[in-house]
């Protein structure tokens, strides 16, 4: 090996000779030095991976571990008694608890099918998650059909907008739903104006399911649209040329490729809605408590052992679904390079035939439903924020916020600190989540043994109860830990930032990894052969090419942080580190008006932040 590239080798245009005499000891010494620095450069990625792992352990695995351990260690003695009790308690597991208590499965099954069955909290949580999943798929499917198969003005915008509900702060959505479906909500006012009797959807399962669909149907639509668009028109044409009719070709060629995306959307929806918290807290209260709400309640009652055990049960179920999905995904990943997508049809029917008109009529009906579910809550919130008790227009609620800012007592929630905290935390959390997410994405897109395990470990924050993360950070970091005689303690604000970063970085991984996966390996190898180290290739080639994904990841991390409620509400107790969502929750408990006003403020701040992120990141090709 001749060491440095400089001056060595042949030179176009010259004779290509190398004066060997001039290279000598000097060259050899240089070679040694280069090799040493080369080693160090080669380790940079490893170093980054170690830093990421340490952060994850310190900010997630350790704090969560300290909480979860309480479920199995009571008074210093390892025990499974807490678990056994939860599993056998009909309050948690309903009829299933009797199964765990040793009763005959047949008797249990009969009662489960009976009308008086008790689901228990876990059962109810799974039940509402399943209903929400069905509703989300039902609502997302027509949207995917519309977005993937039709061409119309604003299609791209609409496609981009499907990301919006997912990143809207959940507590704000809850406020929007109260403003829409509450006793004095928009829905009842419309019904009243039409002379119809009012309906009370508040604190019902329906409200929760619709709110969950609001959140997750666009997600389902997104993944399905992407899958549908990556169906190669040539595959359909081949099927048609082989004798399949349009319907048969759809079932044989299109459906099998879109179906995995439906499962993806469904699995994610189930996991998200299984761990739901703010929506149920605001729309269901403790009467319709899910596991997460009950964990929160147990934590408030300082019953940590039971809270931890219940959180573990929740984690096992969520992680099970997530792992099953990841396995499925790994088996069903198909490359969609060089695909010619199916041609889009016009929304205006080409001919007045049934086959042309019927789907379009269906979509028109769907548009009405989608309008009620997606637009009404936000519109109602904005409307409610400028509507007084007498129904007239007023700015009283905003005036209330300003008054509170000026004259509020120290213990009261004031708007400006909430806005300031939210922005600071979100910026800091994004800055932390971005490198973590990129490093994990780089690692998990490489081939090595145990990759799935690393993938799952890195994705675990998605499945772990935010309450437990918050509690773990509160007791592990904020109250301090002692390591080798040194005491480490973080402020509530730092803990919140860390919790938000941990919650947000999986989304960075998810937005960056597909781009990395799709990168041509020979691009990386070319850069390396030209002299770039592995770390340098990431900087020069891989990051620029997946940059839109990085920007999208940043937007996600920012939005997750700004809307994060669960861990924040635990960590912000007693501190003045409350954020906008926490402020909304404190207002909503008293009066809806100021909560909706605060919700509008949150909406505006979030929207502006997105514009800023997009500007900072440069051109992004769709989220």
């Amino acid at each position: 090996m001749s060491g440095s590239k400089t001056g060595s080798g042949s030179t176009p245009g010259t004779d290509g000779g190398v004066s060997d005499a001039s290279r000598g000891d000097d060259e050899r010494r240089r070679t040694l030095r280069e090799r040493v620095t080369g080693r160090l450069r080669g380790r940079l990625l490893t170093a980054l991976a170690v830093v990421t792992s340490v952060t994850l352990v310190a900010a997630f695995y350790y704090p969560v571990g300290t909480v979860l351990i309480e479920a199995v260690v009571v008074d210093g003695v390892p025990t499974l008694a807490v678990f056994a009790e939860i599993l056998r308690d009909p309050f948690y597991f309903g009829e299933l608890a009797r199964l765990f208590a040793g009763e005959s499965p047949i008797a249990v099954a009969r009662d489960l099918l009976g009308p008086d069955r008790r689901l228990g909290i876990v059962g109810f949580t799974a039940y509402q998650a399943a209903l929400s999943t069905v509703a989300s798929v039902a609502l997302g499917l027509p949207a995917a059909y519309l977005l993937a198969r039709f061409e119309f003005p604003g299609r791209r915008t609409l496609r981009s907008l499907t990301i919006v509900p997912f990143v809207l702060p959940s507590i704000m959505v809850a406020v929007g739903f109260v403003a829409t479906f509450g006793t004095n909500g928009t829905l009842n006012r419309v019904l009243g104006a039409l002379g119809l009797p009012p309906v009370d959807l508040m604190f019902t399962l329906e409200a929760i399911v619709i709110a969950h669909a609001f959140y997750n149907a666009p997600l389902v639509a997104r993944v399905m649209t992407a899958a549908w668009e990556s169906v190669d028109a040539r595959a359909v044409e081949t099927a048609r040329s082989l004798g399949a009719g349009p319907v048969r070709a759809f079932y044989d060629v299109v459906a099998p490729q879109v179906y995995p995306a439906v499962l993806t959307g469904a699995a994610l929806t189930f996991v998200f809605t299984f761990g739901t918290f703010p929506i149920v807290l605001a729309l269901g209260g403790f009467e319709l408590a899910t596991v997460e709400v009950f964990v929160y309640r147990l934590v408030r009652d300082l019953n940590y052992a039971e809270a931890a055990a219940l959180a573990i049960v929740e984690l096992v179920i969520s992680l099970g679904v997530l792992l099953a999905y990841l396995r499925y995904e790994a088996r069903n990943t198909v490359s969609s390079r060089g695909v010619r997508p199916l041609p889009r049809r016009s929304l205006v029917p080409a001919a007045p035939t049934l086959r042309e008109v019927l789907p379009r009529l269906g979509l028109a009906g769907y548009a009405v439903v989608a309008g009620v579910v997606f637009v009404a809550p936000i519109a109602s919130m904005v409307l409610a924020s400028v509507t007084g008790g007498d129904g007239g227009l007023t700015l009283d609620h905003y005036r209330f916020l300003i008054d509170r800012q000026q004259t509020g007592a120290a213990f009261q929630v004031r708007p400006w600190p909430a806005i300031r905290n939210s922005l600071t935390f979100a910026s800091a959390a994004t800055l932390l989540a971005l490198p973590m997410g990129v490093v994990v994405a780089v690692l998990t897109t490489r081939r090595f043994r145990g990759r799935t395990l690393v993938d799952a470990a890195a994705m675990a924050p998605l499945a772990v109860s935010g309450i437990i993360v918050g509690l773990g950070l509160l007791r592990g970091l904020v109250f301090g830990v002692e390591i080798a005689g040194w005491r480490f303690a973080a402020t509530g604000a730092v803990a919140i930032v860390v919790a938000h970063a941990v919650a947000g970085y999986p989304f960075v991984v998810r937005t960056v990894a597909p781009g990395l996966e799709g990168l041509d390996r020979s691009l990386i190898e070319s850069a390396r052969a030209l002299g770039a180290s592995r770390a340098r290739v990431i900087r020069d080639v891989e990051l620029p090419l997946v940059w839109p994904g990085v920007v999208a990841g940043a937007a996600f991390a920012f939005a997750i942080s700004i809307g994060e409620f669960t861990a924040t509400v635990v960590l912000a107790t007693g501190a003045d580190a409350y954020t906008m969502p926490v402020a909304i929750e404190r207002f909503i408990g008293r009066r809806l008006g100021p909560a909706t006003a605060m919700g509008v403020v949150l909406l505006v701040v979030t929207g502006l932040s997105f514009v800023v992120i997009e500007r900072l990141g440069g051109e992004t090709r769709g989220l």
Binding site: P12, G38, A529
Partner: protein, 377 residues
């Protein structure tokens, strides 16, 4: 099966080969993609690895580039082992089949990328070096263009310029032309060879196209199942294939196998020349064909012998070993017509100027037959 003849040129022991593979094996699980390969590429040589897909040629190239580490064996550059040296420190230039131009950089930035890690030659600025390389590949005005706006052939040349810009010691080309159409491919390979000779840069070229391999190389390694079957200059590979596989892979060929019925001691004078040409009669399908077995020293009646005759040496109505065959099919190729004959259930391929039909007599001179091997197949 014993092999006969072939590798003749020996390396001078004084200068170590530019690239040397010594017992190199690369396994993926149980399968060996490259199986105990030993090769030497001389300084300034244009060396080609050719073979059907899955023969291990690309893996061999990737091992040399450092994208893969061998499971066993040693790779040396100019006598020094490169084990554990990452690709960026190997001073190699690589051109891939799909060119792998960085889509987010202009052509000029692509060509200049390697200059981030190596200085341009003395007295030359970075941009001068980029311009020089683009000039070299006949794309002088392309620096500001977007790589995706270029045609396949132009992209290939940019990739070439990019690989050469840092002044590598070794140029590695992995099927750089297989995505191009035939005419362009022929034009480009002349250009690639011209650039290579101009720079005198040691080059390892991978292709599945035997014609390209013969046209462009100083020496060729014909690979099969992870091993080189024959390493020799193109003419030798073509005229004196060392195995039936090489004989059939490189160009059109007629391979015959049969038992030796007699050995004519030829014109050996007083036993002075043991390796003097001698004619052997070989029984193939009941006909005795006379073959010049110059280098087949240990041949005696009863041995099984495999030999080949190129289509251009099979002549209609001429030659010594005449056989009767019928025309089965003909492909008009322009310059010649390629005719497949049926001779007692065997296919014979001949090339003629004029079309043929019906029954014909074909023959060849003993000197135009090449003995591939002796012994059981």
């Amino acid at each position: 099966m014993r092999r006969v003849g072939s590798e003749r040129a020996a390396d001078s022991p004084d200068d170590p080969p530019a690239v040397e593979l010594d017992g190199v094996t690369k396994r993926y699980g149980d399968a060996a993609a490259v199986d105990d390969v030993s090769l030497r590429v001389r300084e300034g040589e244009f060396f080609t690895l050719v073979g059907p897909s899955g023969c291990g040629k690309t893996t061999t190239l990737r091992l040399i580039a450092g994208f893969e580490e061998p499971t066993a064996g040693t790779i040396r550059f100019s006598g020094e082992s490169v084990a554990g040296v990452p690709p960026e420190d190997r001073d190699v230039g690589v051109v891939f089949q799909n060119y792998a131009l960085f889509p987010h950089m202009t052509v000029g930035e692509n060509v200049g990328y390697g200059l981030n890690f190596a200085d341009p030659p003395e007295g030359m600025s970075r941009s001068e070096r980029v311009a020089e390389l683009l000039e070299l590949v006949d794309l002088p005005d392309a620096a500001d263009r977007d790589p995706e706006s270029l045609s396949g052939g132009q992209q290939q040349r940019v990739a070439m310029a990019r690989a050469l810009a840092p002044g590598p010691d070794l140029l590695l080309l992995d099927e750089p032309m297989s995505a191009l159409d035939a005419q362009l491919r022929e034009r480009l390979r002349v250009q690639v060879r011209r650039i290579q000779s101009e720079l005198g840069i040691t080059t390892v070229y991978v292709t599945h196209d035997q014609e390209e391999a013969l046209a462009i190389s100083d020496r060729v390694a014909v690979m099969r199942d992870g091993r080189p079957e024959q390493v020799a200059p193109p003419r030798t590979v073509y005229r004196e294939p060392s195995s039936r596989f090489v004989a059939e892979f490189v160009g059109d060929n007629n391979v015959f196998a049969g038992r030796v019925v007699h050995v004519e001691e030829g014109d050996a004078v007083d036993g002075e020349r043991d390796d003097a040409p001698r004619i052997v009669g070989v029984d193939v399908g009941g006909e005795t064909l006379r073959v010049n077995a110059a280098e087949a020293i240990d041949v005696s009646p009863g041995d099984r012998l495999t030999f080949c005759v190129r289509p251009e040496y099979l002549r209609i109505g001429e030659g010594e070993s005449l056989v009767h065959a019928t025309v089965e099919s003909a492909e008009f190729l322009g310059e010649t017509t390629r005719i497949t004959l049926d001779w007692g259930g065997r296919d014979l391929v001949v090339r003629t100027r004029d079309p043929l039909s019906g029954e014909v007599v074909v023959g060849f001179d003993p000197a135009d037959a090449h003995v591939i091997g002796i012994g059981e197949e």
